[in-house]
């Protein structure tokens, strides 16, 4: 009776998965650019960010068309409106990954202290994005809640890096450009974690109808 609509919702799901995967790559490549000091990798992040922007516009148009054509209610309404909110956070993730890549190209971070933590922090942030999109597709409220909890891991890394930098500043051989850039990268990753939590909260809303967090 509503094959067309279900088809459109399936496509929406797939598009969100695609956009989520682009975000994961953007975060991953920005961390890799830092760890390997690879500016070509940094450029790939900007390309990804541009594609994420493009996806945001496509999905937004798709959602607006669905709202107009299907006038969705109940779960359908929550799914479409959540998707509209989720893509805004995903777009921010793309932008912040690009900001990280830009800092990497300044080549102020010669010292490798802390880059392992940045790497692990990026892995944690990627996991949050993956899990939140996964929860959306599987309509798994428990998995969405777990994403919000996992944010503590990312915050933990941020605090660890911050402490390390405070110690670094007290040293005579302190390299302040290195320290500030590393702190900014950590801060961007911490913000990316927050965006993943927002996404997870919208996923939760699409499933339960309640806005938590």
């Amino acid at each position: 009776m509503r094959t067309k609509f279900d088809e459109q919702l399936n496509i929406l799901n797939k598009e969100l998965i695609t956009m989520g995967a682009l975000c994961e790559n953007a975060i991953g490549n920005s961390a890799k650019a830092l760890v390997d000091g690879d500016s070509r990798m940094a450029e790939s992040v900007w390309e990804l960010a541009a594609r994420i922007d493009q996806k945001e516009r496509e999905i937004e148009a798709m959602c607006l068309k669905l709202l107009l054509q299907q006038q969705p209610v109940a779960t359908d309404l929550r799914v479409v409106s959540s998707a509209l909110k989720m893509i805004t956070d995903m777009e921010r993730i793309g932008k912040q990954s690009a900001d990280i890549a830009e800092i990497v190209t300044l080549e102020n971070i010669k010292n490798t202290d802390g880059t392992d933590d940045i790497h692990d922090m990026a892995v944690a942030a990627i996991k949050m994005v993956t899990d939140s999109i996964d929860a959306f597709v599987k309509k798994d409220a428990a998995a969405a809640r777990a994403v919000a909890e996992y944010d503590d891991v990312v915050d933990g890394f941020f605090n660890k890096i911050k402490q390390m930098i405070i110690v670094h500043f007290s040293r005579p051989e302190c390299d302040s450009e290195y320290a500030i850039d590393l702190l900014m990268i950590a801060k961007y990753l911490e913000r990316i974690g927050d965006h993943a939590v927002n996404i997870a909260n919208w996923v939760l809303f699409s499933i339960t109808g309640n806005k938590e967090g």
């Binding site: 009776m1 509503r2 609509f5 209610v73 109940a74 779960t75 359908d76 309404l77 929550r78 109808g209």
Partner: protein
Amino acid sequence: MDKITVEKLDLFYGSFQALKEITLNIPANEITALIGPSGCGKSTLLKSLNRMNDLVEGCRIEGSIRLDREDIYGDMDVNLLRKRVGMVFQKPNPFPMSIYDNIAFGPRTHGIRSKAKLDNIVERSLRDAAIWDEVKDRLKKPALGMSGGQQQRLCIARALAVAPEVLLMDEPTSALDPISTAKVEELAMELKKQYTIVIVTHNMQQAVRISDKTAFFLLGEMIEFGETEKIFSMPENKKTEDYITGRFG
């Protein structure tokens, strides 16, 4: 405050049970929408609210319906009840007489004879039904010469002319174009300040746009009743969800 309270209402057409244990409180000065698939008993419930079912052979009810706490199937005079609880039908049904006489009809049957008084009622009712400007220069013309949308608003005006407290509307816009529909919807939202409105509609978006409460019916049972916003954003019952999202059947 509840204007109408329906309690454990069973309604039978002969041996067929069309309504099953309906318990429902209709709040005053709100719009309550009744939704559900064809044949689920919406019109039957609506008609039982002003005892239009009395005219149906073999129709029998159990349970109670109260208007301002007074049992309408008790001692209440049926004519008085229908004056207090007016009805607008799906298809506009103006009487084959002038616009003026259509509106004056009800008040006349209630004994109002003074021309000045009737003029006053006719104007006020047509104004309340948002159609005065369109017809004020042709009050003596036949009502059947009006457009469908105008006829429907005329019928609303006719219902308002006897100063009812409750307005029952059975799919009042199903035969109207979008502009007339919008006018009737605006009107309903305006009228709820003074009246209590119960509307049957097959248009989900209409229920969302204008109603405060929504009741969903299925096979003579009331499946869910609540705030319209809640029903259409997170219904509690799976059957409600399936129906409003078009997954039904």
